[in-house]
C-alpha cells in the first residue's frame, strides 16, 4: 500500500496544474463571454492539450490518449480543485458516445460524436415507458420502416432533458413477432419534428427536469439505427456496461460530508453549536465511518482499474452506497436546519444562511437518486444476483 503517486504521475499532475493556471479562468475579453461559451472555448483547448475526451479518437474530435486510469483521476482532481469545466457529464457524452464508439457506423461516429462531446448538441434517452420501468424489455413503443424512414408511435416517460434535447437515443419495438428482448432496436432521432410532443413532469422539488414524450408518426432515417434490427437490447447493455464500469468516485460524498460538519458547527441548539451535542457528534462520527469506507473503496477500485483488474462485486454497489449516504446526510441536515425545514428551498428567513435552503433541497433530491437509473431495490437485486450469485426471482425468470 502506497498512497502517494509515483514521480511520473506527480510530474503529470504538475503539467495539468500548469495548463490550468494559464488556461482557467479565461482572461481579458474572453472572460466577458457568456458562461456556456467560456466553457466550450476552454473544453476545446483542454481536448487539444490531451486532458479531456481522452477515450475518443482524434478524428471524431477527441484527444485519443492511451488509457490511464490514474492520469484520468489526476485530471479530475485538478480540474475539480480549479473549478474548471471537465468532460461534459450529460447522457450524450457519458452513455451515447461510448455506445457509438463500440457499435456505431463510421458516418454515425463522424456526425454525432464531435458535436456531442463539445456540448453543441444535447441528447436525451428514450428508455422507460409508463408500463415498462424495472421490466424495461417489455417496452411497447413501435417503429416500422415506411419507405426509407422509421415511423415511430408510442410514449416514453421520465425522459430527462427532453425539453431541451436536440436528439434522442431510443429503444423501440421493431420486430413484432420476435421474443421480448430480440424485438427491440436502438434508434437515433431528432427531437425537433412535428411528430414529437414533450410534456414536462413536475417533480416534488418543484422543478421540471424530466418529461413525457409522445410519438405520433415521428420519423427518422432508416440508417439512424445503432447495431442491427433486433439488437437494440444488446446495444443498450453496452452502454450500461460502460456505466457500471465507472469507478465509485467518492469526491462528492466527501465534500458533502465536510459541508454537513460545517452546518453542525454553525447550527445552534439551545444557543450552543449543534456539534457540541453528544447525539450529533455520534451521528456524524458514525456517518464518517461510511463516508471513509466509500472513499477507500474508491481508491481500491481505482488501483484495480489501473492494473486492469476487475473490481469484483464492489463495482455493483457504488450506486446504492452513494444513494444511502446522500439520504443519511440529508436526514441529519434536516435535523440541523431545524425550523427552516418548514420553508421552500428557495425561501430565505431573515438572517438565515443560504446553505440551509440548499440542504432542504438536498433532502428532496436525495430521494431522486434512490429512484433514478434503477431503483435502490433493483440495485439490491443486481447485487444479490450478479454480485452474490443468488438465483433470479422466479417471476422474472419466466419472462
Amino acid at each position: 500500500m502506497d498512497l502517494a503517486y509515483s514521480a511520473e504521475y506527480e510530474s503529470f499532475r504538475g503539467e495539468v496544474k500548469k495548463f490550468l493556471s494559464s488556461s482557467w479562468p479565461l482572461q481579458g475579453a474572453e472572460a466577458k463571454l457568456p458562461g456556456d461559451q467560456k466553457a466550450a472555448l476552454f473544453r476545446g483547448r483542454a481536448i487539444a492539450a490531451g486532458y479531456l475526451a481522452r477515450a475518443v479518437p482524434v478524428r471524431y474530435g477527441g484527444s485519443e490518449q492511451a488509457p490511464d486510469v490514474l492520469k484520468g483521476q489526476i485530471i479530475r482532481e485538478e480540474f475539480f480543485r480549479a473549478r474548471a469545466p471537465g468532460d461534459l457529464a450529460g447522457i450524450g457524452p457519458s452513455m451515447l458516445v461510448p455506445t457509438l464508439l463500440e457499435k456505431g457506423t463510421e458516418w454515425q461516429k463522424e456526425k454525432f460524436i464531435g458535436p456531442t462531446i463539445r456540448g453543441e448538441v444535447v441528447w436525451c434517452q428514450g428508455y422507460s415507458e409508463p408500463g415498462s420501468g424495472s421490466d424495461l424489455a417489455s417496452l411497447q413503443t413501435r417503429a416500422q420502416i415506411v419507405g426509407d424512414e422509421w415511423v415511430i408511435n408510442g410514449q416514453k416517460i421520465w425522459t430527462s432533458g427532453a425539453h431541451i434535447a436536440d436528439y434522442m437515443f431510443c429503444l423501440c419495438r421493431t420486430e413484432r413477432d420476435a421474443p421480448k428482448h430480440a424485438g427491440i432496436s436502438y434508434l437515433l432521432l431528432s427531437m425537433k419534428q412535428p411528430g414529437i410532443e414533450v410534456r414536462p413532469l413536475r417533480q416534488m422539488t418543484g422543478a421540471a427536469d424530466f418529461n413525457e414524450v409522445f410519438f405520433t408518426d415521428a420519423r427518422t432515417p432508416a440508417d439512424w439505427i445503432v447495431g442491427k434490427r433486433g439488437e437494440g437490447w444488446i446495444v443498450s447493455r453496452t452502454t450500461l456496461k460502460h456505466e457500471r464500469n465507472m469507478i465509485g468516485d467518492a469526491a462528492n460524498t466527501v465534500m458533502m460530508f465536510g459541508g454537513l460538519v460545517e452546518l453542525a458547527k454553525r447550527a445552534l441548539r439551545d444557543g450552543r453549536p449543534a456539534i457540541q451535542d453528544p447525539s450529533v457528534r455520534q451521528r456524524l462520527a458514525q456517518l464518517e465511518g461510511y463516508v471513509r469506507s466509500h472513499q477507500y473503496s474508491g481508491y481500491r477500485q481505482l488501483t484495480k482499474a489501473a492494473k486492469a483488474q476487475e473490481p469484483g462485486p464492489i463495482g455493483l454497489m457504488n450506486k446504492l452506497v452513494s444513494t444511502n449516504l446522500g439520504q443519511e446526510m440529508a436526514k441529519i441536515a434536516l435535523d440541523l436546519v431545524g425550523d427552516d425545514g418548514l420553508l421552500e428551498p428557495a425561501e430565505r428567513r431573515l438572517g438565515a444562511p443560504r446553505e440551509n435552503g440548499q440542504w432542504i433541497g438536498q433532502f428532496l433530491w436525495s430521494l431522486g437518486s434512490a429512484v433514478a437509473g434503477g431503483t435502490a431495490n433493483i440495485q439490491r437485486n443486481v447485487i444479490g444476483e450478479r454480485g452474490l450469485g443468488l438465483p433470479r426471482d422466479a417471476a422474472a425468470q419466466r419472462s
Binding site: S297, I383, G387
Partner: protein, 358 residues
C-alpha cells in the same frame, strides 16, 4: 497511488487461510469453543510456526519484521475462521514491549513471545467502560495493587502488560507474589477472559510514556476492526451459501426478494468497509497525524457492522441459526467481543469527534 495489497500480503493471507482451513475447520473450532480451556496448544503452536507470534516485531528480536498492516491481515483471516486462541492479547503484549520497552526488556521478552516460549497478554480494563490509557487508575511503581478486568487468556499467559495511572505500562510475570488470576465466564469462548487481582504485586515498569500506551491501544483497535471485517465477510458467505441451498415452496429461498435484499444490504455494509482497517493499519506505521482517529473510526464502524451482520445472519439462517450447534452463534459472540473489547463504538466515536476538534 496503490491502495491494494502486495503479492506477499496476498500470500500471507492465503497461507493463514490454508492453515485455518486444514488445522482449524469448524468442527475443531466448535470443540475448542465447548471445551474447558478455549485454547488448544497444538493449534497455537502451528500459528507460531507460521510466524504469527510476532509479525510486526523486528527480526533482531525474533519477529518477522513486517508492518502493522500485515499483522492486521492475519487478524482478518483468523477472524474469518473464528480461530480460537491468544493471538490478540499476545500480539498487543509484543507491541507494548516494542513501543514502550527498554532495549533490555525487548531482548529479554520479544524472542520468547515470537517463539511462543511465553504467551503474552494485556490487562487494560478497569470496569464501567474504562479501557483507555487516561482511564487507568492503578498506580505504577515497584508493585501494583488493584483489579484489572477482561484480560484475554489471563489464565494461560506467562507475561501480563498492565496499564497503570497516567498511561503507564508495567510487566507482571505469571506466578508473581500476591497475584491472583480469576477466570471469567466470557461470552466469546474462543477468547477466554480472566480478572487479575494485584495486592502489592511486584512488577517492572516499561519506560515508554502514555503515547506508547495509546499506540498499543490503537493497534488493538485495528486488530479488532480487522477481525470484525473477516468475521462479517465470512458470515455473509455462510448466509449466501445457506440461501442458495435451502429450499421452500419447491424453490431456493435465495430467489425470494425479501431475503435477497437482506443479503444485498449485508454485502453493502461489509464489502466497502475493508479499506477502513487497511487505512488505519497503514496510518499507524506511516501517517502518525491521522493514526489515532483512523483507528477509532475503524474499530467503531467495523465492530458495529459485524454485530449487525451477525444478527442478520441468525435471521437469514432461520431456526437453525438460533441453535448452539450452528457456527453462526460462535461468530455472533466474537462480534460481541470485538464490539466491547477496548471500548464500545460510541466511546470511540466520541473520541473521534474530540480528535477532530468538533
Amino acid at each position: 497511488m496503490n491502495f491494494d495489497l502486495t503479492e506477499e500480503q496476498d500470500l500471507l493471507q492465503e497461507t493463514v487461510r490454508q492453515f485455518a482451513a486444514n488445522e482449524c475447520p469448524p468442527g475443531r473450532v466448535r470443540a475448542i469453543f465447548d471445551g474447558d480451556q478455549g485454547h488448544d496448544p497444538a493449534l497455537w503452536k502451528g500459528l507460531l510456526e507460521l510466524g504469527l507470534g510476532a509479525i510486526a516485531v523486528p527480526d533482531e528480536y525474533g519477529g518477522a519484521g513486517l508492518e502493522l498492516l500485515d499483522l492486521a491481515l492475519a487478524s482478518e483471516v483468523l477472524g474469518a475462521g473464528a480461530v480460537p486462541g491468544p493471538f490478540l492479547g499476545h500480539s498487543l503484549a509484543g507491541l507494548a514491549l516494542l513501543y514502550a520497552g527498554s532495549d533490555a526488556q525487548k531482548k529479554s521478552w520479544l524472542p520468547k513471545l515470537a517463539s511462543g516460549e511465553a504467551i503474552g497478554t494485556v490487562a487494560f480494563a478497569e470496569g464501567e467502560g474504562r479501557w483507555q490509557p487516561e482511564d487507568w487508575t492503578i498506580a505504577g511503581g515497584a508493585t501494583l495493587s488493584g483489579v484489572k478486568a477482561h484480560v484475554p487468556f489471563g489464565a494461560h499467559a506467562d507475561l501480563y502488560v498492565v496499564g497503570t495511572r497516567g498511561g503507564g505500562l508495567a510487566l507482571v510475570e505469571r506466578g508473581a507474589r500476591r497475584f491472583e488470576v480469576e477466570p471469567l465466564a466470557g461470552i466469546d469462548r474462543t477468547r477466554r477472559l480472566s480478572e487479575l487481582r494485584f495486592a502489592d504485586t511486584p512488577c517492572e515498569a516499561l519506560p515508554g510514556g502514555p503515547a506508547a500506551a495509546a499506540r498499543v491501544r490503537d493497534a488493538g483497535l485495528v486488530l479488532l476492526a480487522a477481525d470484525a471485517f473477516g468475521g462479517a465477510a465470512r458470515l455473509l458467505e455462510m448466509s449466501v451459501e445457506y440461501a442458495k441451498t435451502r429450499q421452500q415452496f419447491g424453490i431456493t429461498i435465495g430467489s425470494f426478494q425479501g431475503l435477497k435484499h437482506q443479503l444485498a444490504n449485508m454485502a453493502v455494509e461489509v464489502e466497502p468497509a475493508r479499506g477502513l482497517y487497511w487505512y488505519a493499519a497503514h496510518a499507524l506505521d506511516h501517517l502518525p497525524a491521522e493514526s489515532e482517529r483512523s483507528a477509532a473510526l475503524a474499530k467503531a464502524h467495523l465492530t458495529q457492522v459485524y454485530m449487525q451482520v451477525a444478527r442478520d445472519a441468525v435471521e437469514a439462517h432461520g431456526g437453525i441459526g438460533f441453535t448452539w450447534e450452528c457456527d453462526v452463534q460462535i461468530y455472533f459472540k466474537r462480534a460481541m467481543f470485538d464490539r466491547a473489547f477496548l471500548g464500545a463504538p460510541a466511546a470511540h466515536r466520541e473520541r473521534a469527534a474530540a480528535l477532530a476538534g468538533w
